[in-house]
């Protein structure tokens, strides 16, 4: 799709483009499926146009919440990534077997279009290093052990250990929430 072709297509969704690029021709209506394909191609071509002058990193997070149409669009972009375009996505891996993301990911992996990097929980020694960044060794060891490895829990427990009045380490993320609630003062009423 030439530049003259993808701009009018994008303008069907980004109406304000008409004000910046005057004289864009109307886009003929197509059946729904063809319309979707034309839009996806226009997005890919827009990325390609951007990448002509500089490499483009397109990050798309939390794909597990994406709609089916969004996944289709992303899969299209990954397969048709223009030169000098890098697409980085993130998603949860504890998805139901019926989740559509699983199939999309499988197809992209098998086709060599995407490389999966599976993140695991931190090893105990790594968790200890993180916790020890702000905490004394004994407390850091407790925090690292109770976190069981996920960095989010680790940082939340470390935060609580640093900021609690007693210096005690919560036993769980739920207890972290409860302790913070107890420290809160009600805001003034207006």
């Amino acid at each position: 799709m030439t530049e003259a072709a993808w701009l009018p297509v994008l303008a069907t969704l980004l109406l304000a483009l008409h004000a910046r690029v005057l004289g864009l021709p109307p886009v003929p209506a197509l059946p729904a499926e063809q319309e979707r394909e034309r839009l996806a191609a226009a997005v890919a071509d827009a990325l390609g146009a951007l990448a002509r002058t500089r490499p483009v990193l397109l990050g798309v997070e939390d794909l597990h919440w994406a709609s089916g149409a969004s996944l289709d669009l992303l899969a299209f972009l990954i397969r048709r990534a223009p030169p000098r375009t890098f697409i980085l996505t993130t998603s949860r891996d504890d998805l139901p077997t019926s989740h559509p993301l699983r199939e999309v990911r499988r197809r992209l992996q098998e086709g060599g279009a995407a490389e999966l990097l599976a993140l695991r929980r931190l090893r105990p020694d790594d968790a200890l290093r993180v916790a020890g960044h702000h905490l004394p060794p004994a407390t850091a060891a407790v925090v690292a052990g109770r976190s069981e490895g996920p960095p989010l829990f680790l940082t939340e427990l470390a935060y609580e250990a640093l900021h609690s009045d007693t210096g005690q380490v919560p036993h769980s993320i739920q207890e972290t929430v409860r302790l913070r609630l107890e420290r809160l003062e009600l805001p003034p009423r207006t």
Partner: protein, 325 residues
């Protein structure tokens, strides 16, 4: 000529909404903010079932040089006077109406066909907090604006939007001032009703709270508010937040990401797909990738150097979301 990688971070959850930007407000008693994706142009009634595609395209629009900035936009409601605004240099603004009873609003942009949108009313917002606690989207206060509601619904049909909102959000509030979006008592969920009771707030339009007014005085026009680094003292602490803990145990993954990015930058290469359980650090690693790229450039926040390129070691994702080079 040195090539400048272009960074664009999208989130198909609602993490984008964690970004609030202070806007100019003629009324000094009001805190006027912009919530990402919650603007009149995000709505596309023609495809009501698929707003995310629209969102992606909308983000791309930010990358078009001088694309949507400083455009005169007229919002003509069915009832009441028309409102004209000019988009900011990122292409945003919000038409504010004195009453929510406007009916359908027609957005008129010079050179573009009229578009029907659902009216938004951020102008009376007293406090807003929108945060993303590890993929669990939490929105406190009164969610106002059909666009925001639609996006949440579209993203959250298979999960609770307000899981134990009062408890979790008050915990979040412990980190600092919480800004609530208010003024629409319609459609409150029981959790939000509980939240209001906990805060001793009545349902209905809220007056700006003292903390809100104080916050408004401390913030700079155009400043991007990140809910996470808000401290208990109420000040925005640039050094707070879990990302300032060291990134440990991810050297192999980070090295591979940099290899893939380098390959793609030279020509073609596969996409990277970071996968893992909640809280395992997917987003952190993605951010780290850009931070460690020696030739990584990104835009400065508007309050510092509008429309100029600046290298900065912090808050790159927020900059990339709201700015373009």
């Amino acid at each position: 000529m040195k090539l400048q990688p272009l960074l664009l971070l999208l989130s198909l959850g609602f993490a984008q909404a964690a970004q609030l930007t202070v806007l100019a407000s003629p009324d000094p008693t009001q805190l006027r903010v912009r919530v990402n994706e919650d603007d009149a142009f995000t709505e596309r009634p023609e495809i009501p079932s698929d707003p995310l595609v629209v969102n992606v395209l909308r983000n791309l629009a930010r990358l078009l040089p001088e694309a949507l900035s400083h455009l005169p936009v007229t919002c003509r409601p069915e009832r009441g006077p028309s409102v004209q605004v000019f988009t900011d240099f990122l292409g945003y603004d919000v038409c504010r109406f004195p009453t929510a009873d406007t009916g359908q609003v027609t957005v008129l942009i010079e050179g573009a066909p009229p578009a029907q949108v659902t009216p938004l009313a951020l102008g009376n917002a007293a406090r807003i907090t929108v945060t993303d606690l590890d993929d669990t989207v939490i929105v406190t206060g009164v969610v106002q604006g059909q666009a925001l509601r639609n996006v949440l619904t579209a993203n959250g049909t298979n999960r609770p939007l307000f899981p134990d909102a009062p408890a979790l959000l008050r915990a979040q509030a412990g980190r600092g001032p919480v800004v609530y979006l208010s003024n629409s008592p319609d459609g409150l969920t029981p959790s939000l009703q509980t939240l209001l009771r906990v805060h001793h707030l009545t349902e209905g339009p809220l007056s700006p709270m003292p903390e809100t007014l104080a916050l408004r005085g401390r913030l700079t026009l155009g400043e991007v508010i990140d809910p996470f680094p808000l401290t208990e003292s109420g000040r925005i602490d640039r050094n707070a937040g879990p990302w300032h803990l060291p990134l440990v145990g991810r050297s192999d993954e980070l090295r591979r990401l940099r290899e893939l990015w380098a390959a793609a930058s030279r020509g073609r290469g596969p996409a990277a797909w970071l996968s893992g359980e909640a809280g395992v650090g997917k987003t952190r690693l993605a951010r780290k990738l850009a931070l460690r790229a020696p030739w990584c450039w990104w835009a400065a926040p508007p309050r510092r150097r509008p429309a100029r390129i600046r290298r900065s070691p912090t808050r790159w994702a927020e900059h990339c979301r709201c700015s373009w080079m």
